[in-house]
């Protein structure tokens, strides 16, 4: 670290030209090593397990990518997927963000072209790490734009490379949109800053281009769509409107909007949806202000200017009112639920249980922040503060981004991802400031020297003076002239401390990555008492069972979490999956799961379900199982059939959610309960059956199933698959049929009470 952080003051000690070259070379080397480190840090799971796709969504992306590679782009574009959302099917080509798949597809064909036949799976698995390297580079560029210190960029790159907050979504195998989106995010911001600083159409156009790419890659593009206008707006309010800003923003907005509208899934949203209206509004405002400025330059009459300003305000107000009107009248769609739930934090829980049910949409507790960002989290405010030191356009951007992103990250765990880049940048600025001060070989002794050092140490003194003139009061901490550090002792102390912290940070990141973020949730790893690692592979066991033992078109019903995996690994049609676009259909499955067999069976018949898959952690103590998710199924079903499914019925009188003897009848008759605990008693001596997740003793008498029959149960009982029986051949109800099989007599009709029912035909 010490090598590259040569302060500008040191330029005089090297010969100018050669010194610059050597530093440039060093930069390059360091960046390359950083990228290497970033990639290496993400390979834990591949080394430990194998080159496998992780979690849930990546499985769909992987499947889509395979489709793209096999059938070509146009087929992919018009892809109607008849193996999900049975029997509705999904217009997949039009309802996904193709950026990820297309990217890996291009890479695949490129490698083919270079006669490097690489399996598409490996490309997908390693895409995220590769792009993390790029992200590090992008954040280097961004930070270099922000701070005049040469070390800041490199620090930012390092942080970005290894901070867990970003690794969490970009380890090898987590083949998700975020994998490339974060790089695009940072790079777009870099281009934006560049455009604003230079006011050049080229950079603005590039920014728009990458914005378009971002739109094609991730739904989070809305963040950019709102952050850039906000930045521009704040600048205008600060009276920092300039031709540069005008050029940059208008270029970006015009081209960027056009680009974003090319994505089928986005289509006309940019002009129909409130999420995008801020950009439009600021665009309009920009024109007004530009016009006003122009007029002002022409005729400098004071009253006229006030009039003009008033006019601008009025027009803007009118435009805003009109927008509101449009929204109310429904021409412009209101905020999309996910985006809206960020502001009204209670909204999702009440109105969109599906969104609320997703674990990564939960708010973030502070340990999560520290876990993901370690010491950056406290360098972050310092960095933000330093942005106020000389507040130019780009620093304003940093501040806004910092505040907004930390709010979002506080509301939703997954948005930690958008916070991480800015944290890295800000922290790097803060830390680099320290290093720059404390790593100067020269020692200010005489006042003349010190003033000289001062003159060099902050080369932008003249700009600062301008600012000081422009803005009434500069930052208190930067009033006094810069002197520098005298004693070597203090230099060495602080340098040592900082180095120690940095090393600790590296340790932390490695530890977190290897312990928390490197398990592909498809394969679970557990430690045996003797400390050796034990792999629990039930998921794949079950999915391969499906793949090999069921008909090609056997419909599998499961809760939506597993839809993508079943589609990807078992290659069987599913009723619902993680692309939760149809609430009703999901609610139907929820109803089938949470109702009595007699109610569920017709539903399953109607949807041609052949197999039902449930995840049951009771034996292993695997807490992410369906019984724990059950209440969400109930809630979602209740949202559609409030009279048939009632959440209240699943709680005991004392309002507890129990599975043991105290469980409510509704609970014990629900299909989910029965499927989870069917035959579970047989594992234990009589009356000893216990559920290790809920930690409760189960009823001595296990549940009976009549409309389903157990087809498969995985090694650790995590996955249980049931086959849906056909209608009884003799037209009896399944209960009767089972009863007859068991050999208990059916009572004679003659003995029935009441009037005899006469046959009519």
């Amino acid at each position: 670290m010490a090598v590259d952080t040569a302060v500008p003051g040191a330029d005089f000690f090297f010969k100018g030209e050669s010194g610059r070259n050597t530093r440039g070379l060093l930069r390059l080397l360091i960046l390359v090593t950083i990228a290497a480190a970033a990639i290496a840090a993400r390979l834990f799971s591949v080394i430990r397990f194998e080159s496998i796709i992780h979690e849930f969504d990546p499985w769909f992306n992987f499947r889509a990518t395979k489709y793209l590679v096999n059938h070509g782009f146009y087929k992919f574009w018009d892809w109607f997927d008849d193996r999900t959302w049975h029997p509705l099917g999904r217009v997949t080509g039009g309802t996904l963000y193709p950026g990820l798949m297309v990217t890996s597809g291009v890479i695949y064909h490129l490698l083919r072209f270079l006669t490097l036949p690489v399996d598409i799976r490996n490309i997908c698995v390693l895409l995220a790490p590769a792009f993390s390297g790029l992200t590090a580079w992008a954040s280097y560029l961004l930070t270099s734009e922000m701070s005049d210190s040469p070390s800041a960029g490199l620090l930012a790159a390092v942080f970005m490379g290894i901070t867990p907050g970003y690794i969490s979504r970009s380890v090898a195998g987590s083949y998700d949109n975020e994998a490339i989106a974060i790089f695009l995010l940072v790079f777009t911001f870099f281009l934006w800053i560049k455009a604003v600083k230079q006011g050049s159409i080229m950079w603005g156009a590039l920014c728009a281009l990458f914005y378009g790419y971002m739109v094609s890659a991730w739904g989070g593009y809305v963040f950019i769509t709102n952050l850039l206008p906000l930045h521009a707006f704040v600048l205008i309010c600060m009276g920092r409107f300039s031709a540069r800003l005008y050029v940059a923003f208008t270029t970006w907005y015009a081209l960027g909007t056009l680009a974003s509208m090319q994505i089928p899934f986005v289509g006309f949203l940019p002009i129909r949806n409130s999420d995008h209206m801020s950009a439009l509004g600021v665009f309009g405002l920009m024109q007004l202000v530009g016009f006003a400025e122009y007029i002002r330059h022409q005729l400098p009459s004071k009253q006229f200017q006030t009039l003009l300003r008033a006019m601008v305000l009025v027009v803007f107000g009118l435009a805003f009112g009109g927008l509101v009107l449009l929204t109310v009248s429904g021409v412009v769609a209101p905020w999309s639920g996910r985006f809206y739930s960020l502001w009204d934090t209670g909204y999702a829980k009440i109105h969109i249980p599906i969104i609320a049910s997703v674990s990564e949409h939960q708010p973030t507790a502070w340990p999560a922040f520290f876990f993901d960002l370690n010491m950056l989290i406290w360098l972050f405010p310092a960095g933000v503060y330093m942005c106020f030191r000389n507040l130019k356009d780009e620093q304003v951007f940093i501040v806004i981004y910092a505040v907004l992103a930390s709010y979002f990250a506080g509301v939703m765990v997954r948005l930690m991802l958008t916070l991480t880049p800015i944290v890295c940048v800000a922290a790097a600025m803060a830390l680099s400031q320290i290093l720059d001060q404390f790593l100067v070989a020269s020692q200010p002794s005489e006042p003349t020297e010190s003033t000289k050092a001062n003159g060099n140490a902050n080369g932008n003194a003249d700009i600062k003076d301008k600012l000081a003139a422009a803005i009434p009061e500069s930052l208190r901490s930067t009033k006094a002239p810069l002197v520098g550090i005298y004693s070597y002792l203090s230099k060495s102390v602080i340098t040592g401390a900082v180095t120690a912290y940095l090393l600790l940070f590296v340790l932390h990141c490695t530890w977190v990555t290897s312990n928390a973020y490197s398990s592909p949730s498809v394969v679970l790893a557990s430690r045996l008492p003797d400390g050796s690692q034990h792999i629990i592979d039930d998921y794949r066991e079950a999915y391969y069972w499906l793949r090999q033992n069921t008909k090609e078109d056997a419909k599998v019903m499961s809760w939506w979490d597993y839809g993508y995996q079943i589609g990807g690994m078992a290659d069987r049609p599913t009723l619902v999956d993680n692309n939760t676009w149809n609430n009703t259909h999901i609610a139907t499955v929820g109803k089938a799961m949470s109702s009595r067999e007699e109610v569920s069976y017709p539903i399953m018949r109607q949807h041609e379900v052949d197999y039902v898959l449930v995840v049951f952690g009771g034996l292993l103590g695997y807490s992410g199982d369906d019984i724990n998710k059950f209440l969400w199924m109930v809630r979602i079903a209740e949202g559609i059939w409030p009279d048939e499914v009632k959440e209240r019925d699943f709680f005991t009188a004392r309002g507890e959610y129990r599975v043991d003897d105290e469980a409510t009848p509704t609970m014990r008759n629900s299909l989910m309960y029965k499927m989870s605990y069917y035959n579970y008693n047989s594992l234990f001596p009589a009356g000893q059956a216990t559920d290790r997740v809920r930690g409760s003793k189960l009823p001595a008498q296990g549940p009976e199933l009549s409309t389903l029959e157990e087809a498969f149960t995985s090694e650790n009982w995590i996955i249980r698959i049931y086959k849906v029986k056909d209608l009884d051949n003799l037209g009896r109800s399944h209960q009767e049929a089972v009863g007859f099989e068991k050999g208990n007599k059916r009572k004679k009709a003659g003995k029935r009470r009441g009037p005899r029912t006469l046959r009519v035909d």
């Binding site: 502070w366 360098l379 002197v483 520098g484």
Partner: protein
Amino acid sequence: MRVLQLVAAALLPLTALAAKKSPEERFNEAHAKPQPIKLDDRSYDALTKAPRDYSVAVLLTAMDARFGCQLCHEFQPEWELLARSWTKGDKGAESRLAFGTLDFLDGKATFQSMQLQTAPVMLLFHPTQGPHARPDKPMERLDFNTGINKADTVHQWLSRQLPDRPHPPVVRPIQYVKIAMTTTAVLGVITFLTVAAPYILPIIQNRNLWAAISLIAVLLFTSGHMFNHIRKVPYVAGDGKGGVSYFAGGFQNQFGLETQIVAALYGVLAFATISLALKVPRMADPRSQSVAVLVWGGVLLVTYSFLLSVFRVKNGGYPFWLPPF
């Protein structure tokens, strides 16, 4: 006391009368009254007793301050709004639905007879005769435990329970006063701003102010304030032994105070960094500067190590630490 008896005596014949009346008359007179009708035990029985060819929706509530029923007070205006707009909605009373409110004070007997512990509860009595009679389920019950406090949800529920009958929508009266007040307030604010602009502007444009605001915001959010806000976590909790436990166990939960402590730690750390980076190099006097460096460095070390130790509390297996903690 005597007065009460008198009143009761006076009421008796009335109710007797009501009891004798045919359901038709009962409904008509109930419907004639302003909805919802204020009921007591007797009139409640009179209104809801079989046979009836009409439906009755009764809200059993406890408005008295003693019971401190938050929801009752929230819902009461909504309920009246619903009743009024419904009755206004079908003048001809095709839906044949009467609204009544029974307060606990007037209806202790009823509450006891139903063993109601909670309020408010809404009861919907289906007709026992006529086209819409529901002999299987004469009475529906709507519990408010699911956080219903708006007229619209109840209206939906009613509409579901009373099929193929007119369901007049809930119409909320326009509050002109409110509108006027808001407009005047807005105008006032605008004028105030225009007048006070010269004095306010420098404050608004003060950089330190903005720096402070944004720093505070960042510190709040990054120390999990939103989590407290959404999950409504307790400020502190006592540990078993009468003391106060400042840090919640477990990775996924926290206390209000805890987050403030953490925010403070972050603040101290950040401030130390800032001082080292900006203030210290600007000190002209070598000795005081080196002292300051050592002091701030010490502060940084101590606070950070404390933070780490706190984090070790939250996250059991966390292996790293710094001296002294």
